[in-house]
């Protein structure tokens, strides 16, 4: 399945902060075919560093999508049955308008003049895309991590436009620990002398700061167990210490590699904006309780967490599920066993496939009835 990224431009979008962006571009990919009744649309919402290339082989660079093992013909999100859409989030750097985009008013990149965006703003842009594609009601919005937060926001913001949502390894709001890790990432970027208050475009990028931020991120995505299995205390291509500070341990070299790789594909200012959006996110904000926030939802929910995920621990999924059950919402929940930590939602394909497939099929039957 060779896929290509498309972009749609909208005149403007009004943001939670009160600011307005005009115009705004939204980069997206689609897989499968929309049926005549337009009832088989599924929106996949990506995690923090993801993009619209969720599945298939990219025409641009030949790489497989970030959830290609879950989306495609015969897979969990079966593109023989469903029309699957994935778009890059607002504030991102992979085709959708973000801080690295040109501000038409100045002809320069927005940089830090880009307005602060929220998860709800990202969802607003996704809703504009769905309207643009002629879909009144999505069969499902599904995503892991930050994608799961967007799925929850969809259920609350557009109860009539989504039949089911699937928040995986997600939360209704960031804990102090999650905000803390994000803040370390942001401070790492902002303390890089090349960051220049965000005005590094056309100059040297704040590579070191962004790479360190990504290293911290990767640690939080794994588990003690998965790191033990993947690296242990193994040394890289040697048996003895050199008594210096080169990347001697496998784990050091892995983190350095992933950090350096990341700076080529991700914008440091987008890192700041998107992590901030995650930290601001709180489904219950403006409501007396989380349950009250779910009062108007009409969707079915499939909530999934993973045993070894300490970044988005099971208790956060259970808070969501408990609030939903308190309102007698239609919710399925399971905690899957995995040693992969937060990364499990990307890795545990077999574990997730049957439940995703069954949940979608029964939702589709309900929608079609």
């Amino acid at each position: 399945m060779i896929v290509e990224t498309q972009t749609v431009r909208f005149e403007s979008i009004s943001l939670d902060s009160g600011a307005t962006l005009q115009p705004v571009d939204c980069a997206y990919q689609t897989y499968g075919t929309l049926n005549d009744g337009r009832t088989n649309g599924i929106l996949i919402t990506h995690a923090f560093s993801g993009d619209s290339h969720a599945a298939g082989i990219s025409q641009e660079d030949g790489k497989a999508g970030w959830w290609d093992n879950m989306i495609g013909p015969g897979k969990a999100f079966d593109t023989d049955k469903y029309f699957v859409i994935c778009s890059n989030v607002l504030g991102g750097c992979r085709g959708t308008t973000g801080p690295s985009s040109l501000n038409p008013a100045t002809g320069e990149p927005y940089a830090m003049t880009f307005p602060v965006v929220t998860i709800q703003d990202m969802v607003r842009l996704q809703k504009m895309l769905i309207d643009h594609l002629g879909i009144q009601r999505l069969l499902c919005v599904a995503g892991g991590s930050m994608g799961g937060m967007q799925a929850l926001a969809w259920a609350v913001m557009y109860p009539d436009a989504v039949a089911a949502v699937m928040p995986i390894a997600a939360t209704s709001r960031h804990s102090a620990q999650q905000i803390a890790f994000n803040e370390v990432g942001r401070q790492s970027i902002m303390s890089d002398p090349d960051w220049l208050n965000g005005n590094y475009y056309g100059k040297t990028k704040p590579k070191r700061g962004l790479a360190v931020a990504r290293m911290v991120g990767h640690i939080t995505y794994m588990s003690d167990d998965s790191m033990k299995h993947k690296f242990g205390r193994r040394l890289r291509e040697k048996n003895q210490f050199d008594f210096d500070f080169s990347a001697e341990f496998e784990v050091e070299s892995y983190l350095r590699y992933r950090g350096s790789q990341f700076v080529d594909r991700f914008d440091a200012n987008s890192y700041l904006y998107i992590t901030k959006a995650m930290d601001y996110f709180d489904v219950a904000a403006g409501h007396p309780s989380l349950g009250a926030a779910f009062e108007k939802t009409k969707a079915r929910f499939l909530v999934i967490s993973f045993t070894s995920d300490w970044l988005y621990p099971t208790y956060q999924s259970l808070e969501v599920v408990s609030a939903l059950r308190g309102r007698n919402r239609d919710v399925a929940y399971c905690e899957l066993r995995s040693t992969y930590g937060h990364d499990a939602f990307l890795v545990e394909v077999e574990e997730q496939t049957d439940i995703v497939r069954g949940f979608l099929a029964s939702t589709f039957r309900q929608v079609s009835a």
Binding site: S322, R325, Y333, C334, E335, L336, D354, G358
Partner: protein, 205 residues
Amino acid sequence: MSVKRPFVRGVLGRRDFEIISGLIPEGARVLDLGCGDGELLAWLMQHKNVDARGVEMSPELVQAAIARGASVYQGNLESSLSDYPDHAFDYVILSQTLQQVRSPKQVLREMLRVGQHAVVAFPNFGHYSVRLAHLFSGRAPQNQLFPFDWFDSPNIRVLTVEDFELLCAREQWAIERRIFLSQNQELAFLPNLRAEVAVFQITRR
């Protein structure tokens, strides 16, 4: 014979589905406590078009149930009931699990709080084979109905048809239906002595 839930499949075959299905009207809102792999819920969805919810502890069974399309929650049925609002369901089913819960009376009360009707199926400890097994061996009774050793039995509450009816009377629960089964056949005469499995539908007075 499944080791974990010997009665349903082993003794009844599919009779419990027929019986429970006979009690539950088309399109009802159903909560199945200890729903296992969701077989009953899937059956009710298919044949009775019910709104099917379930609670199950084992992650593997929950996965299987969700794969069947039922909205099943992974958790402890005793502690999870308190989340639901009053009258959330038309029928709350507890099949072959009452004898395994720590606080049966509390669970039954909660079932009648969140549901209009409770359907409870349990193996009858008053069955003559159990009485005989105990009388002749002088040990904790073991037979086809209760195949476990006392030290690894999931059945921590032993109750008879008579015991259940007494509890209903004490709690002022109305018994709407009672169905007694032996050798896969319904029976009416001397149920406390002859029924292997009892199915009660109760409601609050």
